[in-house]
């Protein structure tokens, strides 16, 4: 026990492993967390000790937030930034402000690790839908296929796929809090292997009477760039981009320096140069050009030019272009559309 106590005391001083559930208008909080060495932003809630809820979470997304909450392994804690935990059905959560967030996280993390704090699950302990499979592995009643165990369809290939192989088809819905997707985006896909056969995108709009958020104090393009860098495994460079995003008087030289470090064939372009080109109104077709636009915009605002808000894109048109992509390509493509999708969530675009 003495060893475990000692281990817990050391663990309490580790960077806070944080899963971030992003609502609308939470870029500033995300940039704060990415930029701070006392925090590790995790890609999966399973790796976190603390769930941070930031931005406006619409009522329609509260149930999904509860599921993410319960995916953080117990003991866990939740911190809500500039919001009301009760409205989010997270009564045990701590409310704090953006300015006090990281200090609060350090305190809450230490309490969780040393056994002084544990937020109870908000959902049922077992699966809410009864097991409906038949047989020892729940595979249903038709050989290896068939049946709808736990209410989800089994993998059944409707067509022969990309390689002439009839791989099991997998239907799943992810979001609106999946860390690898832009905030408030829900994606319904039919997967064959790692290829998207069917795609439907839905943004969760703000509640009708939600207060209008104040103008974001960070550069949303650079926040999007930080998330893109994290998605291609360049977490350290993502820290640099996030730090730059939250610097109010950033210099154009600093933006240029960041560009020199990432805009090279073996840098970020190794991950984005080969993504499919898109044919969407108001969007650069080339995926690399899209994040270059963010850097150009950050450079121009650094010299005093006005910031141009991104135009929304029609989610059904984006979805149509994702069909046939490999999962990782689709995730990166959506990441390069983060500002446009954020705009669409607030003011949906009409298909052209």
């Amino acid at each position: 026990m003495a060893v475990m106590d000692r281990l817990r005391r050391v663990a309490a001083t580790a960077p806070v492993a944080v899963s971030v559930a992003l609502g609308h208008g939470a870029d500033a909080v995300l940039a704060d967390l990415r930029a701070d060495a006392r925090v590790d932003v995790t890609a999966s809630p399973r790796h976190a000790t603390v769930l941070v809820v930031a931005g406006h979470v619409p009522a329609a997304a509260v149930a999904a937030l509860g599921r993410v909450h319960d995916q953080v392994p117990a003991p866990r804690a939740t911190v809500v930034v500039d919001g009301d935990p009760a409205r989010l059905d997270l009564p045990a959560a701590t409310a704090t402000t953006r300015a006090a967030l990281v200090d609060e996280l350090v305190r809450v993390h230490a309490a969780v690790v040393t056994g002084q704090r544990h937020d109870s699950p908000v959902g049922p302990a077992d699966n809410p839908v009864d097991w409906q499979g038949i047989g020892p592995h729940g595979q249903g009643g038709e050989g290896m296929m068939g049946g709808v165990p736990w209410g989800r369809p089994m993998a059944m290939p409707p067509t022969v796929g990309r390689d002439g192989l009839a791989l099991d088809r997998l239907a799943l819905v992810v979001g609106p809090f999946l860390a690898v997707l832009p905030p408030m985006l829900e994606v319904e896909v039919g997967l064959q292997g790692d290829v998207l056969e069917e795609v439907e995108l839905r943004t969760v709009p703000p509640d009708p009477h939600a207060p209008t958020p104040p103008p974001t104090p960070v550069d949303s393009g650079l926040v999007a760039l930080a998330e893109l860098l994290a998605l291609v495994g360049l977490g350290a460079l993502a820290t640099t981009a996030a730090r730059l995003a939250r610097t109010p008087d950033r210099r154009v030289e600093d933006v240029a320096a960041l560009r020199r470090r990432i805009d090279r064939p073996w840098g970020l372009r190794l991950g984005t140069d080969d993504l499919d080109r898109l044919d969407l109104p108001g969007v650069a077709p080339d995926p690399t050009d899209r994040w270059r636009d963010w850097l150009a915009s950050a450079a121009s605002t650094a010299v005093g030019d006005a910031h141009h808000a991104p135009e929304p894109v029609a989610t059904d048109e984006v979805a149509a272009q994702l069909v046939g992509m490999e999962v990782g390509h689709a995730v990166l493509t959506l990441a390069t559309l983060r500002p446009q999708l954020a705009a669409s969530a607030v003011a949906p675009a009409v298909s052209s």
């Binding site: 117990a74 790692d194 495994g233 977490g235």
Partner: protein, 315 residues
């Protein structure tokens, strides 16, 4: 050095292999933290860089592993063990000093190649076991990558065996001492083998199974000691392949003044730091692009490399 290596008692050998993997993993973990802070330009707080990863390890040790929906617990536990086992198998056939290895088998490069193939199985099972979609997609992706880099590895290792006229890794080191190091006489081999090292150890631009774009893929559902075991496996595998790179291309323990094991350690750490640095500066390549480049560029290059090495060996 004749290439004939002495072997210790099997129990001592097992202790040595475990020691090499533990020390190597500690060095890789430390190097990763220091390089990450350098790249992030977090300032010059070296102590913070050195301490932070050990605190993360302590955190992992006190966190639980939650259950997913109907996981295959047996495979979930066995997969990291199998992956570490493959790293250990690779280390066991590599010369660890001037005249000794844990197991000096005459077909050392075949054992090295087998470790890669079986590592592919371990990674796939690690993605399969949690019964979770993104973990499974990571596993699919690694199989596609594995089929691409395994042939590459085979041709590079066979080319290294040609001048030695033996598949023994001890003999390959001896032939580099008698002639030139393979990094000089087979210059294509080193970069091609580094591609294999990054791929099989799931690191940097070639981390196909555990990419952040899949919410960390096969490890997305793992937490606590289970996650720590997998991360240990990845770094142990990186250690094993950095060691293999040092042996096959940099003449392993050969060098003046210092004892053989010290030269081997210096070269291995240098290769490991290069691999870690790649992970922080090179973006992850898309799987389709990786497979295309592997089959249309890297594999023909490895054929060419083999042909040139064969002609050079005959000359």
């Amino acid at each position: 050095m004749t290439g004939e290596l002495a072997a210790p008692h099997p129990v001592l050998g097992a202790v040595v292999v475990l020691g090499v993997l533990l020390v190597g993993t500690a060095i890789v973990t430390t190097a990763d933290a220091v390089v990450a802070d350098r790249v992030a330009r977090r300032g010059l707080d070296l102590r913070a860089s050195l301490v932070r990863p050990w605190r993360r390890i302590a955190l992992s040790l006190v966190r639980p592993q939650p259950a997913t929906e109907r996981p295959d617990w047996g495979l979930w536990v066995l997969a990291p063990a199998a992956y570490v086992g493959m790293a250990a198998m690779a280390v066991s056939v590599l010369p660890l000093g001037t005249d000794w290895a844990v197991a000096d088998v005459r077909t050392g490069i075949v054992v090295l190649g087998s470790a890669e193939v079986l590592a592919m199985v371990a990674v796939y099972l690690h993605g399969w076991a949690p019964n979770s979609p993104l973990s499974l997609v990571g596993a699919y992706r690694f199989v596609a990558a594995g089929l691409s880099f395994l042939l590459l590895s085979m041709f590079v290792l066979i080319a290294a065996a040609l001048p030695a006229e033996s598949m023994s890794l001890g003999r390959i080191v001896a032939s580099q001492q008698e002639g030139a190091w393979n990094v000089l006489r087979q210059p294509l081999g080193l970069p091609l083998f580094l591609v294999v090292a990054l791929s099989v150890s799931l690191h940097g631009p070639l981390d196909m199974a555990d990419g952040t774009d899949l919410a960390t893929g096969t490890v997305a559902e793992s937490s606590g000691p289970a996650r720590l075991a997998w991360e240990f496996g990845r770094r142990a595998m990186l250690t094993a392949y950095a060691l293999a790179t040092a042996v096959v291309f940099l003449a392993g323990p050969a060098g003046p003044v210092l004892p053989g094991w010290a030269w081997l350690a210096v070269k291995t750490v240098a290769v490991a730091v290069v691999l870690v640095w790649c992970g922080h500066r090179l973006g992850r390549i898309g799987i389709q692009r990786y497979v295309r480049i592997a089959w249309t560029v890297l594999l023909p290059l490895s054929f060419l490399h083999l042909a040139i090495s064969g002609v050079a060996a005959l000359a």
